[in-house]
Assembly symmetry: D2
Homo-oligomer: 280 residues x 4
């Protein structure tokens, strides 16, 4: 699929500051950047870097001048979504996992899987097949957590959400990641652009490592999986924030847009238990 994505992020700067801005789609074999441009409304020193942890590229931006500044990104992206038969999406033995995947079994700031072992085992432990386990926990989150904005905040974690059962995409994704890890399935947080998300915004979901593939799951069920354009994957939202700011500046607003460049868009069926989807 080919998409046109754009984002505008505005800050009010009151003294020299630095921003880490991660709004560009990730560049990989499966996701090609056909063209892109990042512009600033006033002078700024911008340096693009690749994160050594997770999969993320971002810009280190030095802001020497005060006043409001807007960053505008626009890009054309072509990505593939790989369909993998469910019978291949099995548990990977610990000893066969790539070393960088092993660390995604660890608990993290917002995904305290170490506190969810018994609960996860009780709820999902009897399901034999790994892919079905993750589908079941995704559906449990969807069925039990109420999608409501303005109640949770940036400190809300999976340990809160499993009981309080309310939140936004970030909270749904953290809980998915935490439950997978509690079941000894490596999992990571996924942020990106999302075609047909209404109202338009960045979106978060999660990936589980099954049969050697990173399979995509969205516990909010808000958007088609093949309309997701990956910005970053990482341990959790702490590692994949679209903006981290240091100094005297305040976030003002963000505007996000995604359109399809293909004449037809056929959403994949994320409820299928016979196949999984991968974009990483």
């Amino acid at each position: 699929m080919r998409f046109k994505v754009s984002a505008e992020v505005e800050f009010a700067v009151t003294s020299a500051s630095t921003v880490l801005l991660g709004i560009q789609p990730f560049r990989s074999e499966k996701q090609r950047i056909l063209e892109e441009a990042l512009m600033a409304s006033s002078p700024a020193t911008i340096r693009e870097v690749l994160s050594p942890v997770g999969e993320k590229r971002f810009n280190i931006i030095e802001l020497a001048h005060t006043g409001n500044i807007t960053f505008s990104y626009a890009g054309k992206v072509e990505n593939d979504i790989q369909i993998i038969p469910a019978d291949q999406l099995t548990d990977v033995p610990i000893a066969s996992m790539p070393v960088d995947v092993l660390s995604l079994l660890n608990p993290s700031r917002y995904c305290q899987s170490d506190r969810l072992y018994k609960l996860a085992a009780h709820k999902f432990g009897k399901i034999d097949h790994a892919f079905e386990k993750v589908m079941a926990l995704r559906d449990w989150i969807y069925d039990n957590v109420e999608y409501t904005g303005g109640i949770t905040n940036t400190q809300t974690s999976a340990f809160d959400t499993i009981t309080e059962q309310v939140g936004v995409c970030r909270d749904f994704a953290h809980l998915g990641v935490a439950l997978c890890r509690a079941l000894t399935i490596p999992a990571r947080y996924f942020t990106g652009y999302a075609y047909q998300l209404n109202p338009p915004d960045f979106h978060a979901c999660f990936e589980a490592f099954l049969g050697g593939h990173w399979i995509l799951f969205d516990a909010t069920k808000l958007v088609p999986l093949n309309g997701l354009i990956k910005i970053a994957t990482g341990t959790d939202a702490a590692e994949t924030a679209f903006a981290s700011s240091f100094g005297n500046l305040n976030f003002q607003r963000v505007e996000v847009n995604v359109s399809s460049l293909d004449t037809t868009f056929q959403p994949v069926d994320a409820s299928s238990t016979t196949q999984g989807y991968s974009v990483s």
Copy 2:
């Protein structure tokens, strides 16, 4: 300094299992492994790997047989401790930080720096110099947190310790890391062998990124800094556990020993405010 280190770790295995064992000193330019051997008391498949996150090597061990198994490590290590004048241990501007260091500003499972911003600013924000800030927070932890075993557990985090003010080296280190990050100083958890630790055990302390160096701090003040032999550094204890086990096995015991191979050992003065020490 040159040290002889050894560790014995025993597990009771009741079905085929996997262990990630991290008890070998880290190998780096500053820390040379002169000789070493890792032995198992019964057959096991052992593969040494290097972690892509943090600085850590560990063994992926497959245990096919039931019964007790003991892993014995013994090594001779030579390491250097670098003395750096305090006036060089300044804040590093965000935009000048290496990319892998930037991620050590993020909150993590046991170091929720995002919840400590105001507290850290109130307590230490007025101290100008970065090295003095970290010395002050190290001393605050030492003065206020009571070193007591058996009260905290593997779920205890810096957010608990800042208020409950009791714990072991792990808790002291997590709090040090969290307070540094809350002050926009990258910090990481350090585990290792510790000469003169009584009773002998693995030890934990923390490193702060100051003036481009990883400077070592021990808020427990239990051991000389130049008697520390690094096993791993990482985000927090979630990433640097000496053993992670998967399957049906139970940890039985660990025994640790460190002796000096030098005829004299002169402990460094960790209370000096004119210089910092680095082993990484």
Copy 3:
């Protein structure tokens, strides 16, 4: 039923101290104290009082002398357990609740019902009948929480237990109370002597206010309900501790014994869904 109960509690006193000791069975119309004696192994000023909150009598004990002191209580108690048909154990309308019962809808230190509303509604909200609701949540606790000593501590609360699913009778009772309150059913913590509890100790369970009665539930299912001799009921364990100490003294040990004074003891069937039991 008639029971003989006894308890010995020992403290080591290192300076003048005060203890609030609550080990005597509660005196009420339904539970008669046939005879009793509280003795101290060395001189102490003992004053018995009745708590104005909850239902509890306790002793305010002033200890002027250092050294170990043992309090020995022995009593004979006759109590009644009332059988109430399930169809009478309905929801009580808020406006018809006695005023002192209303406050037992509030969240408390260890029973944060305000954080469990959605979870409780999802799990038990569709059950029509109030008594069946409480039976269902009691069974859910029994089925999902593992009874294990030494993992939880005096700070563990229902919000922890609902997810971590491990604990002792105290934790089982707190979770029962919290879930009831989250379902708008007044509930309180119950502590007492427990016939046939093995090993002997004080026990904790919970009461729910149904059809105008305080109905007893034990999510641990460890003992027969008609072998329970009430010491106290209250908001939660914060209000019903068997000993609270102020000053320089350390709890050393407690020993508890219960025997039946009746020739036959027929345990009631707590799994019956056609009737509830009340001792308050």
Copy 4:
């Protein structure tokens, strides 16, 4: 002092519901209700009751009809503020405390004093005099906690606030209560009308039991202590909410007004370390 107070509270009712409404000043020897009226904008069954725990009167209101309903309270109140010399505001020995006061040493939902013992001892333990201790902790809260609306919510507790250091009057009061209890000083939450509070709203502060008196403290320092008209005191906000609703109704708005009926109003000096003030 004499005050005119009024409050309007509006709910949207979508099915038969019940509200517990606590907006009337408490009636006591020290606080006389000269006249008052509580009116409803549409028919409702209203019954005034006195809470058996804490000091609070409230109305149990049954709403049989759907639609919006507004409750309007207006009253004239005369109260006394008692000045007590600091040297009388000493620690009360545990054994001399009234029994109902003893229970206000317990931790509660929002005041987890059991987790603050060491911290409170470190910060305030060396201050000899009980009144000075509470003045010191009140000042510490004022100096370190930032008064900001919209960040904390009804689940925020003293354990959060001690570290996160941001909140509203409710959070300031909870922290004051928790720190007192951690220092073995009975304390309770106080809600009321507050003359000169800007913008007008209900206010919260706390009382500590010193020298046999309930002494009033306001860690926000927003209003004069002698302009406070008590609605309720209790364990914490869980027990003293101005409205608790059961059924299908939503809180819409509250409006509060206080004016002085005396020709002159001379604010007391709450920074005085030579005397305390009591209104209970």
